[in-house]
């Protein structure tokens, strides 16, 4: 077998494995999420199918595959079918670039599907393409609620993409590379990035909740206002594909947060004293970190109610974006003028920023939570916010 063919086949195999892994995780995420939500609401959650409800994902899969696949008469057939494929395709592709272990650690192969110099940029590019799935799905359904849902969700995702990208700039300036390997390697030497970029991490966390359409930012699916948003006219497997895309995006966001701010696939160094080389084991550390963030997603969903749409937009534009810019400026200024000062000072500054934000959280709330009732006699004009 020629060399390039072997490489191609191995890459393909790894891609298939990643896809299978992601989809299995998605299936069991739905179960775990429902169980955890149930327990947090003092009920057991789904426990009927199989022992402890463990076969529930299989039942759900069978149901969504064999359900009638409806197509609305007014739908644009091509785009209507294309939209869920775009959504899930982009979501799955985005995950492949994340390294899960040191080079050559997975049976002699590299534990990633593709490795780009522009790792984080490529990932942002792919996730930004994910907007199309939602947007086109809403438009192609040919009915009113989906188009409203599609419009507001794409507006939301575009708005928070900016804050998301900007909140990473400080990190990129410190590390000086956009490749995931470089970022993980830097953190292995200098400690996890969360220490130096806590403000950036908080902003990134908030933006990634908005980007993955999770509570408290799950406006696209606000049942009370727009039925199910862009999902309204979808059924059966196409609906399941959208759902998959949401969960895969969630997994990817968790993996990105672990990689960028929590040391990626490397475990904590002090454990090496107990078991030599444990911090270099592939997969395990990344999976643990992803699991933590997935739990955070579920936990927040169990706790927080949904924001109103105008609050969401104001929050994104008036708080997250300026703060991300401020974080960028702060980091840039520090790097330019630090002289021989250590990075820990930046960490203290960043932490002070987060604390100030927490203390001032009631004051800044007026930024996005102003009462929209105007005094009588003031003319209400069309448009606005």
């Amino acid at each position: 077998m020629p060399d390039w063919l072997a490489t191609l086949l191995i890459s393909l195999l790894k891609a298939v494995l990643v896809v299978l892994g992601l989809l299995t995780t998605f299936a069991y995420m739905t179960l775990i999420e429902r169980r955890l939500l149930g327990r947090m609401q003092l009920r057991p959650g789904p426990n009927r199918v199989g022992p402890m409800g463990l076969l529930q994902p299989a039942a759900d899969a069978i149901k969504s595959i064999f359900k009638e696949d409806l197509t609305v008469t007014l739908a644009d057939k091509l785009v209507y079918t294309l939209a869920p494929i775009v959504a899930i395709g982009m979501a799955l592709t985005a995950f492949g670039g994340l390294p899960a272990g040191p080079a050559g650690s997975l049976f002699g192969e590299n534990p990633w599907v593709y490795n780009l110099d522009t790792g984080i940029l490529a990932l942002l590019a792919l996730t930004s393409m994910g907007v199309y799935g939602i947007f086109l799905g809403g438009w192609a359904s040919g009915s009113k609620y989906p188009i409203l849902g599609g419009l507001r969700s794409s507006a939301q995702m575009i708005s928070y993409e900016l804050g998301m990208g900007l909140s990473l700039l400080g990190l990129l300036m410190i590390v000086g590379t956009t490749s995931f390997h470089g970022i993980v390697g830097w953190q292995a030497q200098n400690g996890p990035m969360i220490l130096f970029q806590s403000l950036g991490f908080v902003l990134f966390l908030i933006s990634s909740f908005a980007e993955t359409n999770r509570t408290p930012f799950d406006l696209p699916e606000a049942e009370q206002e727009i039925v199910a948003g862009y999902l309204t006219e979808y059924s059966a497997i196409k609906w399941a594909l959208f759902q998959m895309a949401e969960y895969v995006n969630m997994i990817t966001a968790s993996a990105v947060m672990s990689t960028l701010f929590f040391g990626g696939w490397k475990g904590p160094q002090f454990l090496n004293a107990l078991i030599p080389g444990i911090s270099d084991w592939p997969l395990i550390w990344l999976i643990v970190k992803i699991a933590f963030f997935l739990f955070l997603f579920i936990w927040v969903r169990a706790t927080l109610p949904r924001l109103r749409y105008d609050q969401l937009m104001r929050f994104g534009w008036k708080l997250v974006l300026p703060l991300a810019l401020a974080n960028t400026m702060l980091t840039a200024a520090f790097l330019a003028f630090r002289g021989s000062g250590g990075l820990w000072f930046l960490g203290v500054l960043s932490l002070a920023g987060v604390l100030a934000l927490l203390v001032l959280s009631d004051r800044v709330r007026t930024l996005w939570n102003q009462p929209s009732i105007r005094p009588e006699g003031d003319i209400v004009r069309a448009g606005g916010d």
Binding site: L36, G38, R39, M40, Q41, L42, R43, P44, N47, W299, V300, A302, T303, L304, L357, L358, V359, S361, D362, R365
Partner: protein, 179 residues
């Protein structure tokens, strides 16, 4: 501090995660009902003489807002009376599909004959099976029509899917025993 409240809320949900769920796995475990729960009707008897309390006056049928009750009265045979009065209910039927379990029949009854019990598991397949006759509701009959049918088919006693908070049915349900 607005964020503090969010943190408090997160703490509450996390704490609940480790609490025992309040819901029970219903068909396997018995649900707990309050004694005042209004379920399927019971036609009671006088405890000493074992005569039916119902005297066939049809006041329950008149009071019923859903027109679910049908009563046909007949004269008592003095030698073997069914009820202590002059007349008794020859036919006493309640259509459980129409019944809204409001308890007005119980309030209207002058002798306390019809009382709302606690049974609620009455789901069945055919609408004619929802018309409960006297022999389905007289005190001592445990279970709804489908439950008793299922019990005979399997040869097991009727199993009611609930238990009462406090264990005792209320006083009006004379002679009724629930698990």
């Amino acid at each position: 501090m607005g964020v503090l409240e969010i943190a408090k809320g997160m703490g509450v949900t996390l704490g609940k995660l480790f609490q025992k769920p309040v819901t029970v796995s219903y068909p396997e475990q018995r649900a707990t009902l309050q004694p005042r729960f209004r379920g399927r009707h019971i036609l009671t008897r006088h405890p000493g003489t074992n005569l039916e309390k119902c005297i066939g006056c049809s006041l329950c049928a008149a009071a019923c807002p859903a027109y679910a009750i049908y009563v046909e009265a007949a004269e008592n045979d003095p030698a073997a009376p069914v009820s202590p009065g002059e007349r008794y209910a020859k036919v006493y039927e309640i259509n459980m599909l129409r019944c809204i379990f409001c308890g007005m029949c119980e309030e209207a009854c002058p002798t306390g004959a019809v009382v709302l019990g606690n049974e609620f598991e009455m789901a069945d397949y055919r609408s004619r099976d929802f018309v409960y006759a006297k022999e389905d509701m007289l005190v001592g009959v445990t279970g709804s029509i489908p439950q008793r049918r299922e019990a005979t088919r399997l040869g097991k006693p009727v199993r009611l899917g609930f238990q009462l908070d406090g264990g005792q049915p209320r006083a009006e349900l004379e002679g009724v025993k629930y698990p």
